[in-house]
């Protein structure tokens, strides 16, 4: 590791147990007080893990590192994560399919231009022809997608879950509709395990990477459309009595604010007028099915009765209903699926969480 500042050097010493007890306390108090110091500390730790995973730590430094990190399951997992990251980034750098078409990165523009102009005339012409074909195919797909979504929206407004087409990678399956910021990975709704991919005859070494870009486009596109669909999975299983108001658990960052670590996030734009929720559940339902949406203060904003049960696109039992987005504010919500016993007693089947973010309408320029 190359550490070119005093603080980074101190970080490494702390991690390797080389600081005295008073110095350690001072170091810890400093990063508790200052978030930017803590961020630098985490970065140094990750580089240390990286160096160990590459076999670059030797001698006493290696022993000190192992004393700290091999002693716990969490530490061993961090080492494993570092190894996996090296493995996957190495594979990604060798994968010609890794680049999104058209997204030529700044560091590669020069080399791509050199490649094109350094060859015969035929090659630039061939590249142009390829681009033309790709543009035409993209236009056809976009046209087809627009027609499909118009039909799907009409179905959604009637309460019918649109069935996905196998060749339509952009069908709203289990995607959390969310406009993705530039520097955040897409919140993936679902990933196939290698074994299930193998059973479908797909490449087991890659999860459906082709869908990654499409999901990004879908996520940013659907959040801007008039209707958005979301599939929710329960965070509680069936209960006989209605659950009390959710309390923050040790495994969650807390309820009631948008920094939930496990609640699906729904980002609504000003144009989004309706939301369609599909609630996945496990147990067979006998009585009439109801769904309710409540805010974190327990205030019910919506209740739908006598809902039809059906199947999601993955063949799971689900209940689907739609409602106007005007009912949702920038808040966290609990969705409850319930039924009634023979004597009319309400029975909660499952509960789901949802975090809503609202995007302000775009500013319109005033004419001078």
């Amino acid at each position: 590791m190359d550490l070119n500042s005093d603080y980074e050097v101190q970080c490494e010493k702390y991690l390797l147990g080389e600081l005295s007890e008073p110095d350690s306390q001072q170091f810890e108090a400093a990063y508790f007080a200052d978030d930017s110091r803590f961020e630098r500390f985490v970065a140094v730790k990750e580089d240390l893990l990286d160096a160990y995973a590459r076999g670059l730590l030797t001698g006493e430094k290696r022993q000190q590192f192992e004393k700290r990190f091999l002693a716990s399951a969490a530490g061993r997992q961090e080492i494993e994560d570092a190894r996996q990251l090296i493995q996957f980034t190495t594979a990604a750098s060798h994968d010609p399919g890794a680049q999104t078409v058209g997204a030529v990165l700044p560091s590669e523009r020069h080399s791509l231009w050199s490649w094109l102009t350094g060859r015969s005339v035929l090659i630039p012409a061939g590249a142009l022809a390829t681009l033309f074909v790709l543009a035409f195919v993209s236009w056809m797909l976009l046209r087809n997608r627009t027609n499909t979504n118009q039909k799907d929206n009409a179905q959604a407004n009637q309460g019918v879950v649109p069935s996905p087409r196998k060749d339509d990678l952009t069908a709203p399956r289990t995607v959390t509709a969310q406009a993705t910021p530039e520097d955040s990975p897409v919140q993936r709704g679902r990933v196939e395990s290698p074994s299930s991919l193998a059973s479908r005859g797909q490449n087991t070494k890659r999860s459906p990477r082709v869908n990654s870009g499409d999901s990004e486009k879908l996520a940013s596109r659907t959040a801007d459309e008039e209707s958005v669909a979301l599939v929710l999975y329960p965070y509680t299983s069936r209960s006989i009595t209605p659950l009390p108001t959710p309390t923050p658990s040790t495994n969650q960052s807390g309820l009631g604010f948008s920094a939930l670590t496990s609640a699906p996030r729904l980002t609504l734009h000003s144009r989004t007028q309706s939301v369609q929720l599909s609630l996945i559940y496990r147990y067979a339902l006998e009585g009439p099915v109801e769904a309710s949406v409540s805010d974190m203060n327990g205030k019910e904003i919506l209740r739908r009765r006598n809902l039809n049960t059906g199947q999601s696109s993955e063949g799971k039992q689900s209940v689907t209903f739609a409602f106007p987005t005007s009912l949702l504010k920038r808040n966290d919500y609990i969705v409850r699926l319930s039924t009634r016993t023979k004597d009319g007693t309400p029975e909660t089947i499952a509960e789901y969480s949802l975090s809503v973010e609202r995007k302000p309408p775009p500013r319109t320029r005033s004419k001078p």
Binding site: P185, R209, P248, G256
Partner: protein, 207 residues
């Protein structure tokens, strides 16, 4: 500063107590939530560095104690410093409970990493993590993916020198590049965690 006396691990964090805890970080709930997340991570790093065998439990215990004090009406001037003080107390109690002296970092005994055969569950979880990592990596923006791929990939040559060259191309320092990679990696970890959790639920339902 009055550091709270040791409390039994019986008190449960309620919604109201959690709300009061968040408001101690910031009046804006979203900002408070972000600060709370960072604080949890700091606590986790502290307990891990101190050799806690149940770091997550110790983190929760620390949070519960501070929240309880707030509910009881204690005025806390510096919430981060208070958390650190309580965390040290929890750590000291744990080391005494486990029947050994509180060991300064430089004298911690050499641990023996246990050999454990990978169970079917572990193998499945590992597969799932790999799938999620792959998926999340390709879910990054092209610029971020390019940065992190170049930063972490295996390649010939001195890795530090290569990173310096990468930093120069990005018009930043090595520390700046390290921070950027760390931030992207943090987002990647969150994505993987959510992906694993979501798909783990799927797999459990399918069983």
């Amino acid at each position: 500063m009055n550091v709270p006396t040791p409390l039994k691990r019986e008190w449960i964090l309620t919604s109201d107590a959690f709300d009061r805890l968040l408001s101690a970080f910031d009046s804006d709930r979203d900002t408070a939530g972000q600060k709370y997340e960072i604080l949890r991570r700091k606590l986790a790093e502290f307990f891990a560095a101190r050799g806690s065998s149940a770091a997550l439990d110790d983190v929760d215990e620390t949070i519960n104690r501070v929240a309880r004090r707030l509910v009881e009406g204690e005025e806390i001037q510096d919430i981060n410093a208070y958390f650190y003080a309580v965390a040290r107390l929890v750590w000291l109690e744990e080391t005494r409970t486990r029947g050994r002296e509180a060991t300064p970092l430089e004298l911690a005994p050499t641990p023996i990493a246990p050999e454990s055969a990978a169970s079917e569950d572990q193998r499945r979880t590992r597969e799932l993590r790999l799938s999620c990592l792959d998926s999340c990596l390709y879910g990054l923006s092209p610029a971020n993916r390019q940065l992190i791929v170049e930063y972490y990939r295996e390649e010939k040559g001195n890795k530090i020198e290569l990173r310096k060259q990468q930093a120069a191309r990005l018009n930043t320092t090595l520390n700046g590049l390290r921070l950027r990679a760390s931030r992207i990696r943090s987002e990647l970890s969150k994505c993987v965690h959510l992906c694993v959790e979501r798909n783990q639920n799927d797999m459990d339902r399918a069983i």
